[in-house]
Amino acid sequence: MSVETSTPEQSGGAGQTRPVPPLRGSRCTGCGNVAFPAAVGCQRCGSSAVTPLALAGHGVVWAHTVQRFAPKSPPYVPPAEGFQPFAVGYVELSDGVRVEAVLESSDHPEYDALAGAEVTLVATDPVPRFATRDWLDVHSHAAAERNQG
């Protein structure tokens, strides 16, 4: 499924969109509990009647830390330019679920700006990745060029 997630807060972004597919979760048809990834059975009520749900592409950082050392490889695949500390945490979505994600902000490697920050989904693979508005401002041009190509 390909869905256009609008990012209206992006600078100079009137009408600009970025094709990031939504995170695929599920909602329990019995109790309404939202799960990510899509559940086999509901953790709250035990029902197996769940329906797919495309999750919101925005949220607020609930808590985060910074990975200061390179995780063991394998399984970790460092970026081509080598390991750099990265932020990881949980983003509280309006759907009512907090999703673990790699987090981007322009004050790396401190990442203090992430505390309680509003963030936008920028990637779903290999794991969810969210970014602050500052980071999006810096990266919007490059992203736009990639999207046109």
């Binding site: 939202v34 910074v66 399984p75 949980y90 290999p126 794991v127």
Partner: protein, 387 residues
């Protein structure tokens, strides 16, 4: 008295050495711990009528009979992560209460290699992407949970360093500990950051060791003339809906995640008929310094946020209002997953008997508490009473 409430006593407790022992296997450490517990109880292996035990990664406990003696008793393997020792102890206690045995053994052991644990995403129901992205790192979970907790409850980074410094200080006066060198708060705070706000010396390390506990019915304990410690209660729980655990791709539900430690501790206190404020000495899972801080409140010893005052005032030091992790806990003893829960029980038994030497809690402590917590959201707690 109904079986469910009949008195069960700890009549023997034993440890192997903890820390790196290149010449020994995990199984050998388990045998050492069992022999130490038997000697402590004044028993020999043929006196044990049923046994429960396990390790996370160092073999099956029932193979130990090859080195202990082939007495033909039932020996049940337990594999329950950090709650392995607790689950083995629950099973041993239930065997006594059911009348199936009068003397039962619980044993836990492990010998982990250097460095971090090596979890595979697929074993946790996650896509391989979580490994590729660098998210299969246990320390991230503890740091994220504590980072949130600090902000919500006003805990300072200085308090984190104080908790770790206490662990190393207590380790320095615990003859069996792995880390026996005191470290200053400054050195701990200045150590390399692993996952903010936790530095290298705030974490325990995967380690090595074995621990064994022998329990007996009231009649058997009296017959033995053992220096018994009464096991008022033991409770294990798995997580409830909305909890936040290691390797969780999401936290479901709303509001503050519930704690399985709270559930297990409450069950243990209710079954024992005592309150957290009655406890004189406690062992709380200190996978890292922040965990000990959070577990103080999660287990009911103080309100969330009161830890800052508690720890700054020395309440959790030996000689304080509630001495915590008097043997240096996991930070000073390392974390052999199968053994840690029973090491905690061993330390409380030692304290309640008044045999803890330089680290003895003053004033003849009467009631003790132990708590383990681990992945994927399990906890085991005990309440012990001096006789």
């Amino acid at each position: 008295m109904s079986p469910a409430t009949s008195t069960v006593s700890i009549v023997g407790a034993g440890l192997s050495r903890f820390g790196r022992q290149p010449e020994l296997t995990g199984r050998q450490m388990a045998v050492q711990a069992i022999h130490a517990a038997l000697a402590d109880a004044g028993l020999s292996w043929p006196d044990i009528q049923v046994a429960f035990g396990g390790s996370d990664g160092s073999g099956l406990a029932d193979t130990l009979v090859a080195d202990l003696g082939l007495t033909g008793i039932p020996f049940i393997n337990v594999k329950n992560g950090c709650a392995t020792g607790g689950s083995a102890l629950v099973s041993a206690v239930n065997a006594i209460r059911s009348g199936a045995a009068e003397i039962a053994l619980a044993v836990g052991f492990d010998k982990h290699p250097r460095g971090a644990f090596d979890p595979r995403p697929e074993d946790w129901g996650l896509s391989v992407g979580y490994g590729e992205a660098g998210l299969m790192v246990t320390t991230q979970f503890f740091a994220i949970k504590f980072a949130r907790y600090m902000r919500e409850h006003g805990i300072s980074e200085q308090t984190l360093a104080k908790v770790a410094a206490k662990a190393f200080r207590n380790g320095s006066i615990s003859p069996n500990a792995w880390r026996r060198e005191a470290l200053s708060e400054e050195a701990i705070a200045a150590a390399p950051m692993v996952n903010d706000p936790l530095t290298q010396y705030m974490f325990c390390s995967p380690g090595e060791g074995g621990a064994a506990i022998i329990v007996a019915s009231e009649a058997a304990a009296q017959r033995l003339g053992a220096r018994q410690v009464r096991l008022l209660s033991v409770a294990t729980r798995t997580r409830s809906f909305g909890s936040f655990e290691v390797f969780a791709p999401s936290i479901q539900g709303h509001g503050t995640p519930p704690s399985v430690s709270t559930d297990a501790a409450r069950a243990a206190f209710e079954a024992a008929g005592v309150a957290p404020s009655d406890i004189d000495v406690a062992q709380l899972q200190d996978t890292e310094a922040g965990a000990e801080i959070m577990h103080l409140a999660e287990c009911g010893f103080c309100d969330h946020g009161d830890q800052e005052e508690w720890i700054v005032s020395g309440a959790t030091e030996i000689g304080g209002r509630l001495p915590v992790n008097t043997d240096g806990g996991c930070i000073a003893n390392g974390e052999p997953i199968g053994a840690s829960g029973l090491r905690q029980v061993h330390e409380i038994v030692t304290q309640l008997r008044g045999e803890a030497g330089e680290r003895q809690v003053p004033g003849s402590p009467r009631l003790g508490f132990t708590h383990v917590y681990g992945a994927p959201g399990i906890s085991a707690c005990t309440v012990l009473e001096a006789i």
